[in-house]
């Protein structure tokens, strides 16, 4: 009896809730560390990046306007669905990174737990980051955090799933939308995560995933007028100082590169770096 022939997946981009191929028609070969062909990933172009910005911008109103309770439930749903597809992610990580099944399992588990941790922040963050301000006068005065808008992210390059999760989840907590350039050598988990997001009630456009060359795509994101923040966590190998200089032209909020296993470790500052503080005043009458 012959062995069953498997049905391999075509890995495409994730933009505006859909899975298009790169408009450029380009792909690049993804292989295991010992050279076994795994897939042809889409090689995202400048135009794909710009399309992703448009999709992300269009999604800001809905996602930031959703209740914090709702965003929390959606992010928790991501954890649930990811947990349910644990075996698939373990296999993909083993294939791409060449790590042991145990190490891959630990990576998936930590990614799931990270989604759970950030999901819980959605309806608490404003209470920690906001303030009632006791101004010296008859005024009601309150400060609240708000999302900064569209966040462009260069994901950690040395981790297939956890690195991506650590930069993506905190960006979503306060209501930002994101476009993330996945790890160039390990892009397959990013697209599989996009499938999780697409089936977890994350509205289309809230997360957009580009695979390809960060060196090629990042400059277009750094200079894009409609991107509010640039997370360069995974850009350590690029000319990230130049990217930061380009981003200064539109005064983007910039997160500097981080390296090693603790890169982008879960922290409240990951959320606050991508928020703005709004302070509202209103007079009180003399009754």
């Amino acid at each position: 009896m012959s062995k069953r022939l498997s049905v391999p997946k075509t890995y495409k981009l994730f933009i505006g809730g859909a899975f298009p191929r790169s408009e450029s028609g380009r792909t690049y070969e993804v292989s295991s560390p010992d050279g076994v062909f795994l897939a042809n990933a889409a090689k995202g172009s400048r135009k794909d990046a710009r399309d992703a910005v448009v999709a992300a911008r269009a999604a800001v109103g809905g996602w930031s306007g959703a209740t914090a309770y709702n965003r929390g439930q959606v992010l928790y749903r991501v954890a649930e669905v990811l947990e349910g597809r644990r075996a698939q992610f373990v296999d993909e990580i083993v294939a791409q990174q060449g790590v042991s099944t145990a190490a891959a399992g630990a990576q998936v588990d930590e990614a799931v737990d990270t989604w759970v941790w950030y999901a819980g922040w959605c309806d608490k963050y404003a209470q920690i980051a906001g303030n009632a301000n006791p101004v010296a006068g008859p005024y009601f005065n309150i400060s609240v955090p708000e999302p900064t808008g569209v966040v462009a992210v260069i994901a950690p390059q040395d981790s297939a799933l956890l690195g991506l999760t650590r930069v993506l989840a905190p960006a979503l907590v306060a209501g930002n939308t994101a476009l993330v350039v996945a790890s160039e050598p390990f892009p397959l988990s990013a697209i599989s995560l996009a499938e999780v997001l697409a089936t977890s009630d994350v509205p289309g456009g809230v997360v957009n995933v580009l695979t390809g060359s960060p060196a090629e795509i990042a400059p277009w994101l750094a200079s894009h007028d409609d991107v509010n923040a640039l997370d360069l966590t995974g850009a350590g190998e690029l000319d990230w100082v130049e990217l930061q200089i380009v981003a200064a032209q539109t005064l983007k909020r910039v997160i500097a590169p981080e390296a090693g296993p603790d890169a982008a470790a879960p922290h409240l500052e990951r959320i606050s770096a991508l928020t703005e503080t709004k302070t509202v005043w209103h007079p009180k009458s003399r009754v």
Binding site: N133, S143, L251, K278, T279, V280
Partner: protein, 487 residues
């Protein structure tokens, strides 16, 4: 004499005891600069006030070195309680010398004495008093337990609120345990130099605060200095961009408080008398030299004509003239350069088709002056609706629906402040949510308080000044909190 004519009531300048020439305040003492010098003048009559040193690169280097020494040897090792006591002392000394500081500020800046006396200087004292109390409570600031200062802070401030901007920068920096090198604006160094004398009276350890006067080159040398850990700048978006580029790739933490083009939205159900006063305060306070000024008035179409008529009659009662006169509402434009810019943009406003109206007032023979001015028939594409004029010029636009008002208000690369005028509470909250601006004043405008965070969205900069958030801009957390799984 009509009821609008008042006898002159100038505040006496005799309270000032100014030196003819000022050096740089470095390491606790005044010293001569190694570069050139320049004169600071009164914009109300162009008379010379004093000669001031223009800090050279060597001077900046000496100031940063003094700040570094003070940080390593004294200030970062001092208890929060003692740092706080120094700040309380400074707050009290500012209060004791309040009149003198107000007169100096109005003389050097051109702002009406009633504003420097009742707004600027009281807020300076309040700012130090507020942050003084934080110095020994940093564990509660929200940066985790035992947060650490950043080190040496380079601070560059503008000319519109010279001493107040100094207080906004210096007070939180010192409370958090940083030391400071501050560069006042070229045209308004005087009150910062008087403040240096206050630091001497407070016996603040040498080098904790250093004041280096000068122009753009001095500021550029300061923010680019490699031994600086924090850069805080208030000023134009253009310069802010250059600073953001200059610190790219460094470890320097950055706070930028930049330009604005705030929408002041008046709905048809607004409390109209209050709104008129708020609009006037919003754009004519401090001659409109305010980054958060309500320079774009968005009026619901149905009340446009009535509102503009009432605004014009209110503006006709404003008194323009001697900044030191206690009855003056509108003082002098701070510099000839700024006056030229206001005139240029106003001329362009007329050329582009907006209708100009200026209050009739007597313009003094010398000095820099610009009558309160309103442009109506302004289109969103006009330069006077898009660019920061930074003067007493109001651009009036109209809207029909709340959605249109929000869209127009947000149609700017800036995002510093905004105003809402309506009696409907639910509408205030909904509109406030949708305005992309760091400060939203509802049924009021241009209110400031040390406990209230201030700062912008988008190209108005980032970071906050004031309140707990303002303190965080000068702290780093000492520990990394791991995800719940590890807890």
């Amino acid at each position: 004499m009509s009821f609008l004519e008042y006898a002159p009531a100038p505040e006496s300048r005799s309270i000032l005891d100014l030196r003819d020439e000022y050096g740089l305040f470095i390491d606790g003492a005044f010293r001569a600069g190694t570069g050139s010098s320049f004169e600071t003048i009164s914009p109300a009559d162009e008379s010379r006030i004093a000669t001031v040193a223009e800090g050279s690169e060597a001077d900046v280097d000496a100031a940063v070195a003094a700040a570094r020494r003070a940080y390593e040897k004294t200030w970062s090792r001092m208890s929060g309680r003692d740092r706080g006591k120094y700040l309380f002392r400074i707050a009290r000394l500012v209060q004791e010398r309040a009149r003198e500081l107000a007169v100096a500020e109005s003389l050097d800046n051109g702002k009406p004495i009633k504003e420097s006396r009742d707004v600027d200087v009281p807020l300076v004292a309040a700012w130090f008093f507020y942050y003084a109390g934080w110095a020994d409570k940093l564990d509660y600031a929200g940066a985790g337990a035992d947060p650490r200062p950043l080190g040496v802070a380079a601070q560059v401030i503008p000319w519109n609120f010279p001493l107040m901007m100094l207080a906004w920068k210096v007070a939180p920096a010192l409370a958090a345990g940083n030391t400071v090198v501050l560069k006042p604006a070229e045209t308004t160094p005087l009150s910062a130099l008087l403040f240096a004398e206050i630091l001497q009276q407070a016996d603040l350890p040498p080098g904790v605060v250093n004041i280096v006067t000068g122009a753009g080159a001095t500021g550029a040398a300061l923010v680019r200095h490699p031994d600086v850990d924090k850069v805080a700048f208030t000023g134009s978006t253009g310069v802010g961009r250059e600073i953001a580029k200059a610190v790219a790739g460094t470890h320097k933490k950055l706070t930028l408080e930049l330009g604005g083009k705030a929408a002041n939205i008046v709905f048809d159900d607004a409390p109209i008398d209050q709104a008129i006063e708020g609009i006037v305060n919003g754009i004519f306070f401090n001659q409109g030299h305010v980054c958060c000024a309500g320079s774009r008035l968005l009026v619901q179409e149905s009340i446009h004509d009535e509102l503009v008529d009432r605004l014009k009659s209110r503006l006709s009662t404003l008194r323009l003239g001697d900044p030191l006169d206690k009855n003056t509402d509108i003082g002098a434009i701070n510099s000839r350069e700024q006056l030229d810019r206001i005139r240029e943009l106003s001329r362009i406003g007329e050329e582009e088709g907006a209708r100009r109206w200026s209050a009739e007032c007597e313009i003094p023979a010398s000095g820099f002056w610009f009558a309160p001015t309103i442009f109506t028939d302004v289109q969103a594409s006009h330069r006077i609706a898009r660019e920061e004029i930074f003067g007493p010029v109001l651009s009036v636009l109209t809207f029909r629906t709340p959605d249109e008002a929000i869209a127009k208000a947000n149609n700017t690369p800036y995002g510093l402040s905004a105003g809402i005028w309506t009696e409907k509470g639910s509408r205030i909250l909904a509109v406030a949510d949708k305005l992309r601006a760091g400060v939203v004043w509802a049924n009021t405008f241009n209110r400031f308080d040390p406990s209230s965070p201030f700062g912008g969205y988008k190209e108005s900069g980032f970071g906050r000044e004031g309140g707990r958030h303002g303190l965080l801009a000068y702290l780093r957390s000492s520990a990394t909190v791991k995800a719940g799984a590890q807890k």
